[in-house]
Symmetry: C2
Subunit: 347 residues, 2 copies
């Protein structure tokens, strides 16, 4: 591999001159510049970005730390970050902590396990002089991720950081749940059961607040015994559906599409049909929602936009633009998009 | 950040000694070693892996280039690679070319577009002195990716490289299709239609060979007019199903689960049911297969194993182990796993 020194020698200029040309500094005459660029091109010289970073403290590279890229929400957030960064001339690299692959969901409250994985990755990224870091959580919660001493701009995506200086970008769960429950009510339903995710989960809590708000605004009594909690998956929701459908609810708001699948399964076994006998709505708009028969009405998670917004906040920090907000007060809530299919009938 | 030099000074040894200790070289006395390690620990010194790489030509880091991590097959292959590498003490970084996000599927035959994205990434990875690279394709095909001059070990995952020196790891499409068609035949079906992916696609071609082999071994005539091609998605398969089900086929082999969704949709419109009136099988075992009613019998793609095997082949190259095979003759075919649900009835 040809080095910068060799290029300089061949052009009869100093290495500093070659470096100035590569970094677009204005001090070099046009003729010299053209000559050096020609040699760089002909010899196939390529600057070593990372070594450059070690000197300049600027690599034009953003680090992305994913808790687990196999979580269904993560690849699209990554895509959102990368498309934004690419347009703005930033490279990206991804590190994957594999937390769900490692421990399923037994680790959330274990700081020691968590940091045994996170800390070496942070050190590694620190050592390659990135310009900024975006951390993508697998689900919304408070995370003790970026220490007070974090030296480069950072953004928490899809969750909150305990460090108040770190901006966060999350789903507007409350508003989105409110919207879909309003829709169900608009179809004449007033007895609306809920199958939520785990009770201590932020998504569950916020979506329940949205449900309660929609009920209140329509002067519908809130019946706590119609709120059931499952584990986000089909099987656990199927069990809850059995109990819930012993009551006289006419509609079920499921906090994930997978859980709506459990309700569909129970209905099929009883010879009933979603969108005819019982209205069912989901949340997430995963691929499966389109394949349900009838198609599942749901809220599409704004994953790409969460990625875009996270990258935007990071680049603003990096470029020292004034956001008009003091750092640490930035919590962006991104609303979902309503997707109407055929699982809610009018009564 | 404390430097290696400062550690050396504090310990009254040379920087080379500190470096030897960090790299596990045997020349240093036990007492010195213990003293230096104590200082390293106390001062929080961390070696700069990349700068180390620039000196040692070894970073213990594997680069993963994904054509698009939003392709449904990719995250699990990445997980397979990473879990293998982590066990063996290698770090990984991921670069995402975003080819499908950029151009959908219009780019496969356009070398210029392709290399306008690939080449800068290759140069960037080259400049950080990785120990090896694994390239993950979005679908199987011949890819002109690694040039003859590639200087570090490389593996092509989920496709083939035109460079015969690059080992490849792909799905055993033929064997897997053979297996599921054998199963359909074992249930008494002899009139088995096919909805394939695009006709010029390697997956389609190999799966068709498996279908033909199963027919031949059971002395069933091959009827070319029962082979229809769609675009891997639900909608195009729905259109093909309309035509195919005008014939007297009793079963349909769909080359993707999504396409099986199109067949289910057509059956529902005709008041028919998969697994009762017409047998349907899919391929891929995406999440959706479990949510079909009835559940879809299909072949699960061996994505994690493809990742493992790719990483294994790479590390073998890197560690100069003898594989008993000359490089370039290595093409690993990984079979799928049969997943029986309820979409095939006995006739």
């Amino acid at each position: 591999m040809v080095t910068l020194k060799e290029i300089a020698k061949e052009c009869n200029v100093s290495p500093t001159t070659v470096s100035n040309i590569l970094n677009g500094k204005p001090k070099v005459g046009e003729e010299t510049k053209a000559r050096v660029l020609e040699v760089i091109d002909r010899r196939g010289y390529r600057p070593n970005y990372i070594a450059q970073g070690l000197r300049n403290q600027k690599t034009k590279t953003i680090g992305i730390i994913a808790e687990d890229i196999a979580q269904f929400t993560t690849p699209e957030i990554v895509e959102g970050i990368m498309s934004f960064c690419e347009e703005r001339g930033y490279r990206t690299i991804v590190k994957n902590l594999r937390l769900y692959a490692r421990w399923n969901d037994s680790w959330f409250s274990n700081e020691t396990s968590y940091h045994s994985i996170l800390d070496p990755v942070m050190k590694e990224l620190d050592s390659i002089m990135l310009d900024g870091i975006i951390y993508i959580a697998g689900h919304a919660r408070m995370i003790h991720c970026f220490s007070e001493g974090v030296r480069i701009p950072a953004v928490m995506s899809y969750a909150f950081d305990t460090n108040p200086k770190i901006p966060s970008v999350v789903v507007d769960d409350k508003k989105s749940a409110y919207e879909i429950v309003q829709y169900v009510i608009s179809k004449g339903h007033r007895k609306i059961g809920v199958i939520g995710g785990k009770a201590d989960n932020i998504h569950t809590q916020q979506r329940l607040l949205g449900y309660q708000k929609a009920l209140f605004e329509n002067q519908i009594l809130y019946n706590p015994s119609w709120i059931r909690y499952a584990r986000w998956d089909k099987e656990s929701a199927y069990q809850e559906a059995k109990e819930l459908l012993k009551t006289d609810v006419t509609a079920v708001f499921c906090m994930s599409d997978r859980m709506a699948g459990g309700v569909y399964q129970h209905l099929a076994e009883k010879g009933l049909r979603a969108g005819e006998d019982i209205a069912v709505v989901g949340f997430d708009n995963q691929d499966i929602a389109e394949y349900f028969v009838p198609g599942l009405t749901t809220m599409a998670l704004p994953l790409k936009e969460i990625g875009h917004t996270s990258a935007d906040l990071l680049l603003r920090q990096m470029e020292d633009e004034k956001t008009g907000e003091a750092p640490g007060q930035i919590k962006k809530l991104i609303p979902c998009t309503f997707i109407e299919r055929a699982s809610v009938h009018r009564i």
